[in-house]
Symmetry: C2
Subunit: 300 residues, 2 copies
């Protein structure tokens, strides 16, 4: 049996150490010395928190292609920096207006709005710096492929576009298909990029890449379904943030469309889709399998 | 005599066409279809405006190394997208709170704050997508070097760090050296990146790169000095935005430190520094020379 709890803990520890190392005034300096306040705000938004699921997916997908956890770490840090920037910007008053994140003050509450905007911008910028660094992978063509993948996952046709659609959807009137598209972009696209980046690190051929992509797309749907279900069923204490918020805002989620029981059935089906996609892979894909199962059972 | 007016017009035309082509729903789509509202906000913030000086610098630096304007365009578009994202975010209420930019509504006034934040994020993201695209340069190692350069110019040790320092400096008490550091980062770093990216496109060796860097750093100082002088001397009509704003806000500029006449003397010296740096280059550097002279004489 794959020890998922040990894997997630080991990955989170590596990510925490890696981010602490890279989010540093000396390392982030360019033509001038990195501004200490923006580095402090970046650290507040990126350190001490989160399950680091995206770097875990990078690592687990890379493992299929015999890439070591150490060699998958830098790409994982880049994805995590993009994830953290998106949380900082999403929490802003003009967006979701959240004061708490993982039980701590959001960046604009701990610092101020301008610092939060700039910290997000800088995390996004330096994520690409990490991918371009030779420590990420010795082959520049692989590093460029990683940049392209992260752009697709996080840009106007991925995460940012999904966030835009989510805001538009708050006016109501989204169909089930429109909700699915929005969710596939808002959270699914970066999950998809994480898995694909792991495979790209390992030199996956087109067929293998399409297999892990099918897994990633199902896993992303499962992750979002679980999130929507937890928004209804979990306590704020378990989640470290307000719950019931989507329902109260009249947000168009699949739980609102399918009902709680219907959403749970859909979640189980979706996890099975993710597992089925991996059937041609042997035990090296057990990490990805465990993560898909975890999405169906997580409690926060 | 180099025809600077023709060069700047030709470059601006190419940049406008290139941005219009790339800032397009189909081209920006990823795992999902790019959100139309965010693409519209990106276009509002990036099209129909500006002198496109940064792509011009990319082109002029590339010309020294025999790179054609067409082959320098994509890298120039990437720098311009970063410049435009920075303007969108700087104009936000939490930052400079400007309603007008180039005589038109700023993005958060024409759309809303959330759309402006996301449009800026997406422009930054897709700038790296352009650099990673083979149309930018056939050699992946050159494309990676361009990514690294743009990160240095626009991150916490460059443009974003300079913006953070500028906000901190509004509390007053900055010395002349601190103002120079802030300005070298806020506007200088991206000008420096533009020039260096042109040289990198042309395969410049370390010595040539250090020569163009010396030019770029002086040119960046000249540009910012001219900006500070124009803030005091130009009309809002000529600038297409409010003037006297820095002085009214008690902002620490070199004009406030040196006086208007002192700043003009410093500007002339700085342009001479930029020209001196280029003395080892022949007529192929006339474009960069003309731009440095233009910085001393511009009226908006």
């Amino acid at each position: 049996m794959h020890d998922f709890a040990a894997d997630i803990a080991a990955c989170a520890k590596d990510v925490e150490a890696g981010l602490a190392q890279h989010l540093d005034v000396a390392r982030l300096s360019g033509p001038g010395p990195a501004a200490e306040r923006v580095v402090a705000a970046m650290r507040h938004g990126a350190l001490d928190g989160g399950k680091r699921l995206r770097p875990l997916l990078v690592r687990q997908a890379a493992a299929i292609f015999n890439v070591s956890p150490a060699n998958a770490l830098t790409a994982g840090l880049a994805v995590e920096m993009v994830h953290c920037y998106s949380l900082i910007h999403d929490d802003l008053p003009a967006m979701d207006d959240d004061d708490l994140r993982r039980g701590r003050l959001t960046v604009h509450k701990a610092f101020d709005e301008a610092s939060a905007i700039l910290a997000g911008d800088a995390l996004l910028t330096h994520a690409f710096g990490l991918l371009a660094d030779p420590i990420c992978h010795p082959d520049p063509s692989v590093r460029i492929a990683l940049v392209t993948e992260l752009v697709a996952g996080s840009g106007a046709g991925g995460m940012v576009g999904g966030q835009m659609r989510d805001i538009e959807g708050e006016q109501g009137g989204f169909s089930g298909d429109q909700i699915s598209t929005m969710q596939a972009m808002k959270t699914g696209a970066l999950i998809r990029a994480s898995v694909r980046m792991g495979a790209i690190l390992g030199g996956a051929d087109a067929r293998a890449l399409s297999v892990v992509t099918a897994y990633a797309e199902a896993a992303g749907r499962a992750f979002q379904l679980a999130d929507d279900i937890l928004d209804v069923t979990a306590t704020p204490e378990a989640m470290g943030k307000a719950t019931g918020k989507d329902a109260n805002a009249g947000k168009q989620t699949l739980v609102a469309q399918l009902g709680l029981d219907g959403a749970k059935v859909r979640l189980a089906q979706t996890v099975n889709d993710a597992l089925s996609a991996l059937r041609t892979f042997g035990p090296k894909a057990d990490g990805l399998r465990a993560t898909a199962r975890y999405f169906a059972s997580r409690e926060n």
